[in-house]
Amino acid sequence: MATPTIVIQREDAPLATLLIRAAHVLDPRGDLDEPRDILIRKGRIAELAAPGTLAAPDDAAVIEADGRHAFPAFVDPHVHLRTPGQEYKEDLGSGTAAAAAGGFGTVIAMPNTDPVLDDESVLRSLFEAASREANVPTGFLAAITAGLRGEGLTEMAALRDAGALGFTDDGRPVVSAGVLRKALQYQRLSGGVIALHEEDPALSGLGVMHEGAVSARLGLAGIPSLSESTMVARDAALARYEDARVHFQHLSCVESVEALAAAKAAGIRVTGEVTPHHLTLTEDLVHTLDSRFKMNPPLRSEADRRALIEALRSGVIDCVATDHAPHARHEKEVPFEQAPMGTTGLETAFPALFTELVMPGVLDLRTVVERLTAGGALYGLPVPRIAPDEAACLTLVDLDTAFEVGEHGYHSRSANCCFHGRALYGRVELTVAGGRLAFQSDVVSKQVLGIR
């Protein structure tokens, strides 16, 4: 059985040859948490040495990091790049530019496009487009069911052979337990993690926000937490019965965390992800009726937020995923109930987590970086490392200077960011992804030009 781990990136940019001087390197999977010079030669890390000791080869650009932090580039296992069909919201180029600008060196795109990624031809066309447009290595999940209709299965084995990293009907739950059970059985043939958007539509109904005090006040139909958690519990039971491998996407509430913890304790092969917005924001913001705060699952209560943070710290939740969901301005500039669900997240994930959780001492930096780089391994991708002989896949971040989110616009084609206007620390200055320079800030551009 083939186990492809395919991510595709544009190859017109040259492999980077670069000396980064005096970066504070933090690689959570190594022992490294100290200043280093980093020499990248033809897209691979050639040498790590004490700061100020490495000389620049003639063909290398030099970046003075001045103690800025270097992390393995982040991996986002959950983004919506909107290609094909909704390029007015985002496309492979703009979405991966946003990823690189947020320090992400790998992204995994969801299949709820138009047409849906539910057959090989769509996947092949996406690979072809990614080889021209993707600024960072990009992988794709295929749909579990044809057309995301929740009825017949996609040709999972063929999709997997063609390079799909796994399967999801994200945006929608697989409502029928019978259909999901068949997908889990079929996984024994196809391989590929089955990732689940957990929501019982009978319980979420026409809900547009978390059911709680704020929805009571606003008169908005609520989405109760148990709409998600009952499905997590159901599908963990199915996974146990079929000995299947499932991943729970964008978990949002304390009950889901409990269900995931119980499933893991029972030895079921499950993992979970959580978004930066569910870790840092709550339902209180919806009081403004600003559609930037409308997403699915919705922002929940403070108790939910705290449970998610604790689960991320303990490892019950395995990784951070942004659920980057761009929407055009005219789509979001309508009354809350009419607006589509989703927030962009790639450009703000690290700054939001750093500012809201690391700076106040809620989580340590090492944990945040580890969880931001763990999402690809769930789908069989290599974990990025800052170590000699590894492919260069790293990001350089300024932890000390505040910036206003959206002040100079976004790299994403859409501006529906729930952190818009906030002052955050942790601005990304440089991203090398797949051995290629994928993003450099104005600060870095000026520096490099000054030297060369």
Binding site: E211, G212, A213, S215, A216, R217, L218, G219, L220, G222, P224, L289, H330, E333, V334, P335, F336, E337, Q338
Partner: protein, 306 residues
């Protein structure tokens, strides 16, 4: 006070009392043979109604006319809204007429607040989804204050479909701000979870209703049966209908209209002398005159576009 009235939260107790005092003097105008004052002469008021409405739209229109404003009333049916124009584009188009105020009724929560961000005009929320209906709350407080003198310490019960009621949400807050205690009562399926966080008590039982000074009954919409909120209107009426026999002497009865006779209220209750329903409607014009005056009369007349 704010330039707009989008939520009852925008008003402090002093604001409410000032508006109601002014409404008293406008009520006097409404009793004259010539029911008109020149306060807003030359100003334009746009009524933008995206939902069917009889009493709210007619009373806003009358209020504006009695203040001598020019009024344009737009209903979604037959307008450009019907042709798919976005709310923002409609508002920008109407703003080209330099209206002093836009009165908006929308089926969607937050519509008035959004509109306030898109126009120079003062925006008045005439009902946004199930969120708020602040002028209804003001006229309810006005009606009660006229009858009782003050509503400080008054025990008010709001009975019926609280879940889908913007009137209940605005009234709970307005009544509390004016010193009343509020209990909401209805079938458990029609009481929002955590409604108590608005500062009211909540109960599925009418036990204790006899202690209320005011019984405020909400409209029960027939389509709630299809969504299984109640098994039948028959059972609803049996458990929650307020008839004359359920009212203690001296209790006041209110309803925002329109009434479903024989569902939430019996005919004998509607027609009883304890019912203030007709007075609520009458108060609507004076209170909306006061709101328009409060928001517009203080500000400079908008310059015509050259």
């Amino acid at each position: 006070m704010n330039r707009h009235l989008v939520s009852i939260e925008d008003l402090g107790r002093a604001d409410i009392e000032r508006i109601l005092d002014r409404a008293e003097s406008f009520a006097e105008v409404s009793g004259r043979e010539i029911k008109k004052v020149p306060a807003l002469r030359g100003r334009t008021i746009v009524n933008l109604f995206y939902e069917a409405s009889t009493r709210t739209s007619s009373s806003f229109e009358l209020a504006a006319k009695r203040l001598s404003a020019d009024v344009v009333s737009i209903r979604s049916a037959g307008s450009s809204v019907d042709k798919g124009e976005s709310l923002r584009d409609t508002v920008q188009t109407l703003s080209a007429y330099d209206p002093a105020a836009i009165v908006i009724r929308s089926p969607h929560a937050g519509a008035a607040r959004l509109v306030a961000g898109w126009t120079e005009a003062s925006v008045i929320n005439a009902g946004d989804g199930k969120h708020e209906h602040p002028t209804q709350a003001l006229l309810d407080v006005f009606t009660l204050r006229r009858r009782l003198g003050s509503i400080d310490g008054t025990n008010i019960w709001i009975v019926g479909d609280v879940l889908h009621s913007r009137v209940a949400r605005s009234d709970i807050q307005a009544f509390r701000r004016m010193g009343a205690t509020v209990t909401v009562c209805g079938p458990p399926t029609l009481l929002p979870r955590q409604i108590e966080t608005l500062g009211c008590a909540a109960t599925p039982s009418l036990d204790g209703l006899e202690a209320a000074d005011v019984v405020y009954v909400l409209r029960m919409q027939r389509e709630r049966m299809q969504d299984a909120y109640v098994p039948s209107l028959r059972e609803y009426a049996e458990r929650y209908q307020i008839g004359a026999s359920r009212l203690r002497p001296g209790q006041l009865l209110m309803h925002p209209g329109p009434v479903n006779r024989g569902v939430e209220l019996s005919a004998d209750a509607i027609d009883s002398p304890q019912a203030l329903i007709g007075e609520q409607v009458k108060s609507g014009v004076a209170v909306r005159m006061a709101v328009l005056y409060e928001l517009l009369a203080g500000s400079p007349v908008l310059q015509a576009v050259a």
